[in-house]
Amino acid sequence: MRAKSVPPEATQPETTLSDTEFIRYSRSLMLADDGDSRQLRLKHARVLILGVGGLGCPVATTLVGAGVGQLTLIDSDKVELSNLPRQSLYQTGDIGKAKAEVAAARLRLQNPHPRLTVLQCRPDDQQLRQAIADCDVLVDCSDNLPTRLQLNRLAREAGKPLFAGAVSGTSAQLYLLNSQTACYQCLVDPNWQALQNCRTLGVDPALAAVTAQQLAWLLLQYLQATPAQQASAVPVGHANSVPFGHYGRFAASHSQIGFHWYPLHANPSCACCGAGADAAQKGAL
């Protein structure tokens, strides 16, 4: 495992934007009366993205472009030719190179301000726990079920919000969870041998981008909100809303094109968040 970090420009928490930041982010600053405060909150935000593929590339690009403070990129894969139609941070000459490293290098060219950390590995629990400890928000853009269950479990353990996207074939789904809501394992049987991935079903490149940018939009809403706004339960569809506890499914029919959000009910005996978890804990004592 290699970990690289670019030191922050200043060790004190910054309370203002520099002149170049003000110009760089001027089009975002116009969006709200408290645009400066929103931008500063984003500048202090620390985000972890697990998986830098078809979803992770656009999410990272938008967050870094928008001015996120710190981003940890985790991926064990190398760039493949079949990634290039949708994984926009990679170019033909990158084939065979480590994804997370290449992604970080491109993102640094895009915006030198965010601190970027790279984990070029498939993290075990301890490595992932360490990375999670240094972040406020966790984003699952991974391509397999064991990793999704691992991040779900450790997000719950750390009490940190989880924003997740999944695409395969012509399907796209999102889930937004925190310690107050149901967890991913309430819905998904850990023994499911999930074959629904891009290798087996293919993937629509535009749908991957739509899904990633829906996720990025929700992340920016959340990261720029005040702690009070983050904690308040607001109805789905409100401009400041993040529908935690909901599962989103992309559907296209007639005039309704986009994500439909459903409240996810908890499984009371879930082995991760429910009575099953309590029983497992008691058994371990």
Binding site: V167, N197, L201, Y247
Partner: protein, 66 residues
């Protein structure tokens, strides 16, 4: 009346678990939404479908790629 993925269905089931059995849904990797609520499989057996009212059911495959 039952509506499954926007289609009227002639099936009759007392619970979601019974319905899943009649539809021969795979044991894993399926999401079932009843009247806009996504219900984990663990609660399907206790979720009644009283025929006094309509039920709108969406069934879809979960995906895990990225």
């Amino acid at each position: 009346m039952l509506y499954i993925n926007q289609q009227e269905s002639a099936l009759e089931a007392a619970t979601l678990a019974e319905l899943a059995e009649q539809l021969a849904l795979p044991a894993q990797g399926i999401a079932l939404v009843l009247n806009q609520q996504l219900l984990p499989r663990a609660v399907w057996a206790q979720t009644a479908l009283p025929d006094s009212t309509d039920h709108h059911i969406e069934i879809f495959q979960l995906v895990a790629g990225g």
